[in-house]
Symmetry: D3
Subunit: 278 residues, 6 copies
């Protein structure tokens, strides 16, 4: 639970190192001011709290006022927050704070676009474990803020039997049987399937969720139809090669969840800047 504060300290250390030579040599000590952080692009906001925490980690006397809440949609030029206090502290924390918020807004904004694209269906957009190392919790939070839902957080809080596990265990049935006997009894069992036979075997063997991996629309619809008819309690998730251009089409096939790696590994940063205003 202390991962975010550790990441903030790492980030400040890597930027400040032995000290901010520019600020130390040009800004008169003790100068006070107010700064405004603004969006220079339309976006969905995420990360207001962690951004404030960056400033306060560097200097607990800085005063932060949020102007928006996570989840708000901003127009160009809209202020996110103000920071008031020692100018040197503000300038020393500025870049690190912006590096956090620009990325989290990027993830929330991209997620919101995927969510909007499937709004007419029952499908939910979920994230993956394809996150930036060190950023798992923050990026998964931004996905939530953008309207997405979180898949398992890591390898520890969900069972997802993939092709490699199946190979090692022998068959889909074997793998599911082992997991039922040995894994903590509070976890559902999700199994990856690449074709209809695998879907059938997984369903028959007791899978709680089936991941339909890289299937085209025809196959997706067949899998959905089979499962809905014979195993209505099983949930279905589509995955693989899903982009904004095709996500609505995948959703229309009737799956429950669509997982999208790009939400966290390829969201472009939002352009956000800090200006001293007084």
């Amino acid at each position: 639970m202390f991962a975010t504060e550790k990441l903030i300290r790492m980030a400040l250390e890597e930027d400040l190192g032995s000290g901010d030579v520019t600020t130390l040599s040009t800004v008169p000590p003790g100068t006070m001011a107010r700064a405004l952080i603004k969006a220079k692009q339309e976006c969905v906001v995420a990360g207001i709290q962690v951004t404030g925490l960056v400033f306060r980690t560097l200097d607990p006397s800085l005063k932060i006022e949020a102007r928006v809440a996570d989840g708000d949609r901003l127009q160009v030029g809209a202020p996110l927050m103000s920071v008031t206090g020692n100018v040197s502290s503000i300038l020393m924390a500025e870049r690190v704070a912006l590096n956090f918020v620009q990325r989290l807004c990027g993830v929330a904004t991209l997620t919101a676009r995927f969510v909007a694209a499937v709004a007419e269906t029952e499908a939910e957009i979920v994230d993956t474990r394809k996150t930036t190392p060190g950023w798992r919790s923050l990026e998964k939070y931004a996905v939530q803020v953008g309207g997405g839902r979180n898949h398992r957080h890591g390898l520890f809080d969900g069972i997802l039997i993939k092709d490699n596990h199946i190979k090692a265990a022998g068959t889909i049935t074997d793998a599911i049987n082992h997991a039922q006997r040995m894994a903590p009894h509070g976890l559902k069992i999700e199994v990856e399937a690449a074709d209809l036979n695998e879907v059938k075997e997984a369903a028959r063997s007791g899978a709680d969720i089936i991941l339909l991996d890289n299937m085209d629309d025809t196959l997706l619809r067949q899998a959905v139809s089979f499962v809905r008819e014979h195993y209505p309690a099983i949930k279905l998730e589509a995955s693989g090669g899903i982009v904004l251009a095709n996500v609505a089409q995948v959703a229309a096939c009737g799956v429950d969840f669509i997982s999208v790696g790009a939400l966290t590994h390829s969201a472009p940063a939002i352009d956000i800047s800090l200006d001293l205003v007084s």
Copy 2:
């Protein structure tokens, strides 16, 4: 110097937490195999070493064989490295390892495209401090691998006097004078200028480098022409709003350096996967 090994541990901790419930309950202990990591997109490779280190941090007995070197350009399907050893270890480290390499290849590949775009000029592509928190050293390394050059690493190893510092100091001249007196004598002084008057004042006051911020082509050419004629020892850097579509045009104005934040904050990840092959 231990930041990368710390980031690897954080990444393994956030993914593995209390253990990989799927692998533990489906893969027979002691199974051995070889896995191949392959590019599923064309790319410039970066991060071979850190990727191997992820596997060896989790299990020092895994054997890593690099098939390519950082900087190599790969075709679709080309192998990056093989990993041989305990299957459970390979599967437990897989996602974290791929999360590192997919991002670093992304940064190197985007950098290489910018570098190629200005290849006919003298301009060098440099990075910025707009990096992912926790990733400063790794991303700056990937920029180098992609053919770019590193700007200062952080606030500690270069003086860059921006508009806010100038406001606080009074004038450009005041800010430069203070820096000359107080900063470590081994650092050059770079000053941001927004128009031709500021360029002239910075040059006159002893700036070693001038950052031409958000200037259009006409202004850029005037600034270059003035400085080359009167202060030939001063280096010039263009910055602000530079994308692949306009970078060649900026370079053609005759600046020495072009800094691009997107290299590190918005490079899309490269699609890279791991498959057990035996």
Copy 3:
């Protein structure tokens, strides 16, 4: 995943502090010997690996040979492992190593007694989160070694809705509905019930597992009978006030799982000692 190695270092630090003044002032440097670690009580062994790791953390040149495997039942006087190398290193690590193994054997041994007591039934013995702070993974591992099964590892990998959550959410039905909508979709929903009405509401609202809390045998049997008849997919767990004397009786009521806090919070240590043998 690095928690065990961190705990070992803490344990060595708290025992060795600024150095072992007795060994340093009485044992001639460089003396070599072999030591044997032996059980002075009957027990089920657990912790062979972590015990060896204590010695090797203090001195990587020590040679460890395990004489038994985790899960083995030992008679009085049976050797667990030998340690060969520098006498000073062995004596400096001795107490910390024994402190680990005596506790883990204690947990495994007590678990094995509970498991034996219900061997005639279908019920499985599971642990709880009532573990020694800092020892969650090690103690849960020892429970497995003793033949028990792990419940969720922590608050992150299983949903268990207790009376306090129900109060806060309004009703059992409300709480389950919220969890179904918001929690990661790979987690089952377990709900605590104190009487038959709560069992019925939980079952009706979609609970995957029902925790029968502090129920007497009559009530337990009624709950089991109701659920088996109307909701055969739901799993049942008994909990509260279960000791060796009554666990067989609880198991005979037909529940799937019996959770026992004492496995980890009150298992007496096994008497284990180290002797230099050459």
Copy 4:
């Protein structure tokens, strides 16, 4: 001196990991309440401060009110402390906080029983280094609270020459001579003796304290009588196989100290619970 706060953080991390999925998905954010922590068994209280610190480490805004002081004897149902504030925070810290206090009360309560058993004699009950790894300071503190006295904290703050050291040094006399020459001059020298000859050699060679190891009553009385007559400045400690049933008898032999490993390695946890009361 920061070991306790480190252990608290480890404990919170191992329980909370990536987040409390139950609380997050069932408790409405911002709900406030008061909780009461109560003993469900008679006990001697220890750990009020560290328990409060667990709550405040998770959420500094929680308000803690102690209802008793360490060392107080509680009846069944007596409240230990109240915690007021955000319900989610209280529920997230509850188990870890109880895991600390149930163990520390267990150690203090068991110690108090041993102390009571020797109350008619001059003997003092002391602890050993047989503590739970990571818990040395906390458990030794609970022994004090229960009326016991601390033996050395670790290998660094007391000289205790055992049989293995004697073997390595040659003789008891050699070992004592070395220690007198080389160890910090502020430490007394304690020597283990298994029979009367060893007691005599230790006394003659300058031991400050003699540990009478695993001696029966007859031998104990002989040793006490010899030392009191010829070396009245030497202190005597009995050790080995001492339980509640025989401790009074050992004390009656006239030793100064009785060391008991079970105080810290086998004290059963006290049953303590938290209930929301408003």
Copy 5:
């Protein structure tokens, strides 16, 4: 940026370990008092803030009042600060706090003597990387307080090409050329030269600063004269074997900077003590 707080914690841990046995057993808990920290030697003060931080790290309720500011010159007996609060806390932090301030005052005082010795010249006294491991930032700060100027902080924020680098690169010219092409463009290039030929080659190849290493006065004056005439933009630094007795003479040769390792590696501690005053 967190290095100082980490060093303070290390220092408190190494002194306090498992607790202050003297204070715990002789000072009644809860006793309050005021203590005064005084100089017993004339000195230049440095380290007021870090000294206060030591006390507050141990006990945040201690109240610190500075009586002087860093850079002040003190007479024998002058108070530096008062500390008010719990006596036990004051006594437990006393030695560590004094160990910090006695060393930092030592560095500032010695630096001030060197600075005074060259006051009649243009030369500035600069420090080196010959600092106490763990103390780089603190000692460099004390040099500033004493009137000295900081050289580069470490290997990362300044280029200094020494004889070994030149050997490895081939020639001075080669080394400079490589550095110009590859190092961050905000760093000046300093080159060590041992004789006049090397000075000339360095100047010709584009060195920004030349380090005149271990030159006698005659050589120093020749080097200065050559560079001032032909390369007026180049800065000159003298280094090697410079002590209080000869520093004025070196300065008189006309160099810009004189670097002195002894400032940080051999400054004797100032005698400073703490007394309870009420």
Copy 6:
């Protein structure tokens, strides 16, 4: 016990930060060589092992060969060790390694001078807690190497009742009584005395050691004479204002121990350098 490795990492981090820009830009990767570390002053060697560890922490492939052992007396020019391997690694670790060894040799050398000065007497030279924060263990080790004996390591392994403790406790007698009752029974009780009355009270009340603080020769001799006659078991330590010039005179008064703060807080560094030799 991990403090030294932690200090080495801190030292490497503070010197290397984001990388050695000089070596990276001038030394061709992969160049191999051998370097020799030599004394440029006569000295007693200390720190061979930690110095080697600095190099191996940076690059485990470096090969270290010690040419001398701790405690050896070196002439000018004598080699301490050779380091063979990657030149870049050697140059990157050089300064940190030398910063360790130059300080430790300084402490050992100064200690040896004090020890030599009292060689004709029974007095032993002991160190104090006036050490460099972060360096307690290393500096106390160097004192041993120089022939001195260690006083208590910190506040935890020795009782030393000073004037402030006496004030708080009431009288010397009160303070000693409290300590006898409450402190771990393996620690001797040392008491500071400023005049003959205090010496007598301390002796009468059961002090094991008396610290004769800042006494002149006359008073020292009176104290020694009184204690030797009436309390022959008590040890005597002189302290305060002892320098090389007067230490022999103090020793001649007949005390057992002389404690000298300057050994660790004011030992000048020994001049030691590294040269590439092939």
